[in-house]
Structures are given as structure tokens and as C-alpha cells.
Symmetry: C2
Subunit: 244 residues, 2 copies
């Protein structure tokens, strides 16, 4: 929705109630409101953040916020979510240097940094049951998951993934998501570096289990192990622990 | 669901408006309404099922449904969800015979049967964004996940699970859930028997990756491998594929 299509209540930006809010250009004001909303949604579950809270934190009036977000809190929440989703997706970039598992670990580092920044909002969104959750917000989250799937497959050098390889990557992404939620739930008690290494090991192990059922995954895993170098120490340790 | 509780139009029950509905004892009527609602919620997303649909399918009047569920569709949905949750939880029973992986496979068989029966409702619920989803419905789903965690840990012979072992089992449960959703999404294209075997292999592999980071999981895995018999063929195949 465009700000211009919103109904125009007593133009508070032009005629401020008190001695005047700072006047900002339209796009800048919109971005400021979204940034302020994101900060509030990160510190409290969305159900506990009101439009007035956003207005107050932004140093703006309630009507001004409505001028930009005629749909009120729900629209503001969705705009904030879209901004957060874009930011998260941009973090999926894989560094050029390093072995595949080092690269994976680096992407996980950005991911956990994002989770730490968006804390309460991230948690409430993925946990479900919030009043601001709609089919639209679910679709935004699904888009992020799809982007993560696409990037991971590209990183693995796969052009067209069959259903089993797709299931593997989707499952691993679900494990990453669940792990980050558990991490927040338990007050970040587990060291994030250890979780990252655990998730990389999970990827390797889950790929191995999938390779037993799927030639495409077997080829991907074998290429990955070759790139890990002659020892592939993670694989060696997994083999050892599976000896019982 | 009992055959006797299914709506049977045309029948004495289905001569509404004229000679009156069949009179059922309170508890039986309540159960019948829930059973009918469950069937409807299984075949269509909850947002597309109305209270009138339930009344009609139950051969009951709208006011009668409201007499049992004053909160309307939302309350009926939650009651149906609670019934489904109980039924699912009761399926987590592990058979006494067989190796640990055979037992796991058998529990997964009941789980997938449940998913197949509740199809659209299961999918809509876990996907999120439905209007009937509230903090209460999320709590019911979380209870089922907690029950699954508890049963799995008990099955592994664990009394007090540390954070890493808990994370492993929770992650595996998330993978089972995501896999069942993908299975439905793709029109059940992948053979369910293969998915079940894949999930058992995933458990073994994920436990191995966790054992690298956690002595408790290492002990559990080692006990599991011992029970699998001298060859533990699944572990052997995993080792092989990890050799690259």
C-alpha cells in the first residue's frame, strides 16, 4: 500500500499538535517508522506492542503513523516483517573462501546474529498464535525459507534438486530454525559457536543419511567431502562415533 | 472415529426442521459434533469450514451447536484440535518387540497414518496463519511436541536429558513434522515407507553428529547401536557413505 493512498486525517505532519514533530521527507519517515517498529517488535512479542508505542518511540503522533500505515498496527507489522525478511535474506551470502563446512559456518554466524538482534519478534513470529499472524505473514516467512533453500542448493552446486535432496535441505533449515528458537528460549545458555558447529555436523550427518536413499545426494555429499580436503575431519569423527 | 458417530443422512436424524433431531445424550452429542468437525477440518483448511457446515453435516441445527459450543467455530475448532492431539499422543506408544530402529519405524507408521487421516487440517494448523490459530491452539500443538519429546527420551532410556540431547530429539521431531508436511504438499508422491526409513536413518545420523559434542548423547547412541545387534547395518552404511 502506498502512503499516498491512505486517508488523510488532519495532516499532523503539517500542523503538529504541540510545537511540532521533526518534519521528514515521506520515504525517510516511512523508513524511520518501520525501523522504530522493528526495534519494538524485537524487544517484546508483537501482541504487546501498540501503535501508540510506535508513535511515541518515533516521536510522532498517532494520526501521522496512520497516514503512513492506514491499516494500523497490522500493516505496520507486515511492513516491518518484510524489511526484516529482506535483511535476513541478504545475509545468506556465502563467502568465497574456505571449505564448504567453513562457508556454511560463516552463513550460520550471520543468521544467529540476526536472531539475536530480533529476539522477541523472531521468536513470537515463528512460534505462531500471535494475533498479527496472518496468511500474509506466513507467506513472508515461507519466502525466506525458500530463499534459504535456493541459496543452500546453489552453494552445493545443484541446479535441479530432486525431492529427496530438497527434503534434506528443507529439513536442515527447519533444524536451524528450531535450534535458534531453543537458543533464545533457554536464555542463550548454549554457546552460539558450539551450536554453529553442531549445525554444520548435522548437515553432514543428515546428508549422509539421505545419500543412503538418493543417488543425487550421494554425489553432492561425495563432492562436498572431496572439497573438505583429504582428511575431512568431520566425516572421520562421524564415522568413528558410528562404530559404537 | 466411530462409524456410529458419523452423520447418516437421510435418516431419522436427518429430518431437520420437521419432527426434530434425534435426541442424543449430552456427552454423546458433544462427541458427535467434535467428530463431525474433525472430519470437516481434515478435508478443508479450517478457514473454509463454517459452523453451519458442521451443523449440517451433523444433522443438527445451528442453535444446537451453539448450545454445546457457545464460543462458536473457534471453540469447536479448539475442542476438535484437543481431541486430535489426544489421539495423536496415544499413538506414540512404542511396541515392545524389535530393535530400537524397528520400534522407531513402527511409531512413525502410526504417525503418518494420523497425518494421512487429518490431511488438510493438519497441514493448515502446522503451516500457521489460519484465523483459528491462537495462543491456545499453539499451546495444544506444543503439548503434543512435548509429549513426543518425553516418549522418545523414555524410549532411549534417558531419565534426565541435558540440553544437547534435548535439542537433538526436538530437532528430529521438527524434521518428522516438516517431512510429513512436505509429503502432503507433494500429493504424497514419495512412498511413505521410504520416508519412514529415511527418518529412522536421520535419527541415527543426527544422534551421531550430536554425540561429537555431548557425552550423554554418545552414551545413548552407543547403547542404541549395541541393541541394534552386532552388525548395526544402518550404522555400517552411514559409515560407508561418509568415506566419500
Amino acid at each position: 500500500m502506498e502512503a499516498s493512498s491512505a486517508p488523510v486525517p488532519p495532516s499532523p505532519e503539517a500542523r503538529p499538535r504541540r510545537s511540532g514533530y521533526r518534519r521528514l521527507p515521506v520515504q525517510q519517515r516511512r523508513e524511520q517508522l518501520i525501523a522504530v517498529a522493528l526495534e519494538l517488535f524485537a524487544s517484546r512479542p508483537p501482541d504487546e506492542v501498540s501503535l501508540d508505542d510506535v508513535a511515541e518511540a518515533a516521536g510522532a503522533s498517532r494520526p501521522l503513523v496512520y497516514r503512513y500505515f492506514a491499516g494500523g498496527k497490522q500493516q505496520l507489522y507486515e511492513a516491518a516483517l518484510r524489511t526484516a525478511a529482506q535483511e535476513l535474506t541478504s545475509r545468506f551470502t556465502v563467502p568465497l573462501a574456505g571449505s564448504p563446512t567453513e562457508q556454511l559456518s560463516s552463513v550460520l554466524e550471520s543468521y544467529f546474529a540476526f536472531v539475536a538482534e530480533h529476539d522477541a519478534g523472531y521468536s513470537a513470529l515463528l512460534r505462531g498464535g500471535s494475533v498479527v499472524e496472518t496468511q500474509r505473514t506466513s507467506a513472508i516467512v515461507d519466502d525466506v525459507r525458500r530463499a534459504a533453500l535456493k541459496r543452500t542448493l546453489r552453494h552445493l552446486g545443484v541446479r535441479e534438486a530432486g525431492p529427496r535432496l530438497t527434503l534434506l535441505v528443507r529439513s536442515w533449515i527447519a533444524v536451524v530454525e528450531g535450534t535458534s528458537l531453543s537458543w533464545l528460549d533457554e536464555g542463550r545458555a548454549l554457546p552460539v559457536g558450539e551450536l554453529r558447529e553442531w549445525l554444520v555436523d548435522q548437515f553432514m550427518a543428515m546428508a549422509a543419511a539421505t545419500a543412503l536413499h538418493d543417488p543425487q545426494t550421494a554425489r553432492v555429499l561425495s563432492a562436498l567431502l572431496a572439497l573438505e580436503g583429504p582428511d575431512a575431519p568431520r566425516a572421520a569423527r562421524l564415522r568413528e562415533v558410528l562404530t559404537g
